[in-house]
């Protein structure tokens, strides 16, 4: 902005109708700020767009840089428990010490590999479980009487009103050896020994599917509700039977919803810590738990940070896929 432009803007603000603007303009620091912003080419529009980026920079990128820094350091019994990257050696040279040993350690020790694989497996099976349970529910909601839809939607969101921890503890009460299910089955005489469900992978699956089901249902519902019913009528009119209509029309058109739902379940499920800790057994190996142990039991911050970064890198792949699907969907205008 030219000097003339700035002066003209000042004129407008001095004599403009807005009393607040007039008052602000009399206040020199405000004038200086505006002048600096203008000189930097910052307009109101760019400022608005900059806010979310600033937020991400401050609360995502900067912490990530810290974690990366720790991952490249060496563990020390000190406070903080890691070496610093940049040091003055002999007070004259600035040396940067990068230690990739932590990452090599992740590859060498099969504990980490197994934890990653097992996390992936548990997240994958839970995602499939959520999809199989959530799709019919979302479908029924989308086809329900419009007056009922909001009530059903409310019921899906309702569990969020209670503490997540409390709900997971409630599952302990249901699944444990003298819990609800076993008591009912034994009371009915169907079994005479309690079925061991707590502290197994099964309990972890139940917990994850239960917790993340709304994240599957909501995007699926949003997608299925938009589906044009005349397309289904057109398919039926052309001689397509109802089950085939589902597989040739409804299912392909709901793929964006399925992808969104699966990503929303899979990504947090991989790093899930609380559910396997509370419901899983000692042999339920998940990366979130390994991470916790490294940080708090071993106090090996560098290795823990390396584990965290490896999780992030592994999750980038599905996130990129998700992005790709979304842009493809936007392009197709479906």
């Amino acid at each position: 902005m030219s000097r003339e432009g700035f002066v003209a803007m000042g004129e407008r603000m001095m004599h403009g109708a807005d009393p607040l603007a007039r008052m602000l303009w009399r206040f020199p620091p405000y004038r200086w700020c505006v002048a600096v912003a203008r000189r930097l080419g910052l307009t109101g529009r760019t400022a608005v767009i900059a806010i979310p980026y600033l937020w991400l920079l401050l609360f995502f990128l900067v912490p990530f840089a810290f974690v990366l820094k720790i991952a490249l350091a060496e563990a020390l019994i000190a406070r903080p428990p890691y070496s610093s990257l940049i040091e003055w050696s002999e007070d004259t040279y600035l040396t940067i010490k990068l230690n990739i040993g932590n990452f090599l350690f992740l590859i060498e020790d099969d504990l980490y590999w197994k934890a990653y694989l097992n996390s992936g497996k548990i997240a994958l099976i839970s995602t499939l479980g959520c999809l199989l349970l959530g799709y019919p529910m979302a479908y029924a909601m989308a086809r329900a009487n419009p007056a009922w839809r909001n009530v059903l939607l409310m019921l899906v969101i309702l569990p969020f009103w209670t503490s997540f921890l409390l709900r997971v503890y409630a599952w302990i009460g249901i699944l444990k050896n003298n819990g609800l299910i076993n008591n009912v089955l034994m009371g009915l005489g169907i079994i005479d020994q309690p079925i061991v469900m707590m502290q197994t992978d099964f309990a972890v699956y139940v917990g994850i599917v239960y917790t993340y089901l709304p994240f599957m249902i909501l995007p699926l519902y949003a997608n299925l509700e938009r589906l044009d019913v005349t397309l289904l009528e057109a398919a039926a009119d052309l001689g397509c039977r109802p089950t085939k209509v589902f597989f040739t029309i409804t299912l392909p058109l709901s793929i964006p919803g399925i992808v969104a739902g699966c990503m929303l379940v899979f990504i947090p499920a991989v790093g899930e810590f609380v559910i396997p800790a509370l419901l899983g057994g000692p042999d339920t190996l998940m990366i979130g738990r390994v991470l916790w142990d490294e940080f708090f039991a071993n106090r090996d911050w560098p290795v823990a940070s390396a584990v965290a970064i490896a999780v992030l890198l592994l999750l980038v792949v599905p996130i990129m896929l998700f992005q790709h699907f979304q842009s493809a969907e936007a392009e197709a205008g479906v």
């Binding site: 044009d228 009528e233 057109a234 039926a236 001689g239 397509c240 109802p242 029309i249």
Partner: protein
């Protein structure tokens, strides 16, 4: 195929007592809760006909079409297609195909796959499917667009994909819901003729739903005018226009001038009607068969009224008037004239010569007159 040929040769099967209707709609009523969408409609439609259901929005025409397609079950009454009762037959088993107002093209399939969809449901060999799809796409002039997705097509192209998709199964009955509604005026006019050419080539029976009377007139062999769930009149476009049976039909199809009056003389070959509104005795050259003195309406189309400066010789159907407004349309002019009774008449006259030195203009004293055969007596 022989009977198809006969149906085409026989131009007016509805006037042939020997002809068997191809589609029979018998007392079909459809209620949604307390609301009667279709009220005991009976229709007989013949093979290779283009039958238009014409009516304003909410008159039940689309509901009737959906009953035929099987998407709605009639509350009472039945539908027979080619002698088979359609009760209990699901949409996917009916010999009907529908072209939807929104076209309802499958967005995730190419044009080719959209058109092939119906054939794929029948387990036809892939080679035959691709041949028939190719032929159909050529017929609707979409060959070069076979690999496109619907969102890459223009409105007119989508309309033709929808047409091809429903025609390819060679349905006994083709149902079209506002087939040209989404096209702009110029494209609509071109497509009307294309649609009729394709229909004549394939000999398929069409039932077309439309709210556009012009579209109904151009497309159809017969029109069924609907109002409040009922069929109020059925007939050829000519019948409906020239001999409407009620003020509703007269007014819905084109514009019309209506005079209220009382019968003073009713003979088999003519009627005399006294009308305060017209301000002159009305004489119409057809009988009505109602009691003398009963209230009737006389409808006269705007283009059938003469407008002159000099008083015509005739006594009946002739009144003095003042020109109130003139609208020049290019091919014709529309005159609004006021009769002495205060009744406003709409008259259209073709502009035959480019300029006329003695043309009628605003506030002129004129006479309006029409032939005894021009008016229609309406009792409802």
């Amino acid at each position: 195929m022989a009977d198809v040929k006969r149906a085409i040769e026989n131009v007016e099967p509805w006037n042939d007592p020997q002809a068997q209707p191809y589609v029979r709609i018998e007392n079909v009523t459809k209620m949604f809760g307390e609301f009667t969408a279709v009220d005991s409609v009976s229709l007989e439609i013949y093979k290779a006909e283009v039958f238009c259901l014409l009516g304003g929005s909410g008159c039940g025409k689309s509901t009737l079409l959906r009953v035929l397609a099987g998407f709605e079950t009639p509350t009472s009454g039945r539908v027979l297609i080619d002698g088979v009762d359609m009760a209990g037959i699901a949409p996917y088993e009916r010999p009907t195909n529908m072209m939807f107002q929104s076209y309802a093209l499958f967005p995730h399939m190419t044009v080719e796959n959209n058109v092939a969809f119906g054939l794929r449901q029948e387990g036809i060999a892939a080679a035959e499917i691709s041949k028939r799809v190719g032929d159909m796409l050529d017929l609707v002039k979409l060959g070069p667009f076979a690999k496109r997705k619907p969102h890459q097509l223009s409105g007119g192209q989508r309309q033709r994909v929808a047409l091809a998709r429903s025609l390819i199964k060679q349905p006994k009955l083709m149902l079209l819901d506002e087939p040209l509604g989404a096209l702009d005026k110029k494209l609509r006019e071109e497509t009307q003729f294309e649609l009729i050419n394709i229909q004549e080539e394939l000999g398929v029976t069409f039932i077309v739903v439309t709210h556009d009377q012009e579209e109904a007139m151009t497309l159809s062999s017969r029109i069924g005018v609907m109002n409040a769930g009922e069929i109020v009149q059925t007939g050829t476009p000519n019948d409906i226009y020239e001999y409407p049976n009620s003020r509703f039909v007269a007014d819905f199809i084109g514009s019309v001038n209506v005079f209220e009056g009382r019968i003073v003389e009713d003979q088999p070959d003519h009627v005399r009607i006294e009308s305060q509104e017209a301000g002159c005795p009305l004489y119409i050259d057809h009988g009505v068969g109602v009691t003398s003195g009963s209230r009737v309406w006389v409808a006269v189309r705007p283009e059938k009224i003469e407008i002159t400066r000099d008083k015509p010789a005739q006594q009946d159907n002739c009144a003095a008037a003042v020109v109130d407004e003139i609208a020049y349309m290019g091919n014709q002019s529309i005159y609004h004239v006021l009769l002495e009774s205060g009744k406003k008449l709409r008259i259209t006259r073709p502009n035959q010569s480019r300029t006329s030195s003695d043309s009628i203009t605003w506030e002129d004293q004129v006479f309006v007159a029409w032939h005894p055969s021009s008016g229609v007596v309406l009792t409802a």
